[in-house]
Symmetry: C2
């Protein structure tokens, strides 16, 4: 039995209830730890669920910041050093990855506070998470303001990728499900996945077929 | 055994290989069918994996378009009617939902071509997908250009939500996993999910606890 909520129903929800409700509606989201560092060498690690693929050539990834009304160490670090990393969360990294979202003081690194290990790629200032199976190094190229709510779309270009060879298919598909990457729903729901199937490129001549893939 | 790919390695990949590879890296993505209609009454349905939560108050959701170099019926329809819907994909809707991405002529509706049923909310022009468990009606408010690759972030404000009552928790969390919403990886990988857990709001006083939830 479905219920239809109209805009008045949504407006009448309490702030916390609406946050849970609306955050659930966009569907499953990626679980990434954002690694950054400030110019004094203090690292930062932050759980984010708003990473979005923007394009493959150039290879661009974006994420949505919180509004400018709150402290945002990651954004400050990215603007200062112009680099950051994204690191896929696995079940073993929970609930520590969730805990990185607590309001630690700016001079405390969530790496050490939450039990993660910094790794570095030569010539790249931002730390990656050694516990992650997939890490991506990005060079910041733009913050696009979203004027309706004071958030920003932070865009980075992929500089390097660290990924286990065994998960890469001949056609380039990376079986992130085989690496146990986690999906998020709402503000606080974490999920494992099981692949239903990969399907052939859609065309008008035939129905999609299942693709053999690891 | 992990491999480090640098920017030269990425540049040397073939276009199709790189598309699969880079699309896999952002992590799991939502599987939504975008419903729209043009001013002649021809409906359109398009599979998208780039939906991103922008904020709960106002309730804003965005998605990334393809570059302006290709035909984009959905965007044209949204600009013309200023409304669209998002509809969560379930396993039963596959592979038909994937097939909506085939290049149907502009005068063919993917609803009928792929076997989906149009539904309408009174006073709202864009069709939703009756086979979906969760549907969201959005009013278009802005297209934000992403100048690096000719795509756009299309932003809509939620006008109505259709969701089964049984999936809504007392705190507002919608258990989309209980409704079998699907997650996507890469260009063509579809996945079911199993919840690991929900965790309490992160604070500095205690480690996250598992939240009881349906």
């Amino acid at each position: 039995m479905s219920t239809l909520f109209n805009s008045k129903d949504l407006a009448s929800m309490s702030s916390r209830y609406r946050a849970h409700f609306i955050n659930s509606l966009s569907g499953f989201k990626s679980a990434n730890l954002l690694g950054s560092i400030n110019q004094e060498g203090i690292s930062n690690l932050a759980m984010i669920s708003s990473v979005v693929h923007l394009g493959a050539n150039p290879a661009l990834i974006g994420y949505i910041t919180r509004p400018q009304t709150v402290r945002r160490d990651s954004v400050d670090n990215i603007l200062a050093t112009e680099v950051f990393t994204l690191n896929h969360v696995t079940p073993e990294m929970l609930p520590a990855a969730h805990q990185t979202a607590a309001k630690y003081p700016a001079d405390i690194s969530e790496f050490s506070a939450c039990g993660f290990t910094e790794g570095y790629v030569e010539g790249f200032a931002a730390p990656f998470v050694q516990e992650a199976e997939i890490s991506i190094g990005l060079r910041w190229i733009e913050c696009v303001p979203i004027r309706h709510n004071g958030t920003q779309l932070v865009i980075g270009q992929i500089d390097w990728v660290k990924v286990p060879e065994a998960a890469i298919n001949d056609d380039g598909y990376v079986a992130i499900e085989s690496l146990n990457s986690v999906a998020i729903s709402g503000l606080d729901g974490y999920h494992q996945t099981r692949r239903i199937g990969r399907f052939t490129y859609p065309d008008l001549e035939q129905d999609p077929q299942v693709v053999r893939s690891k």
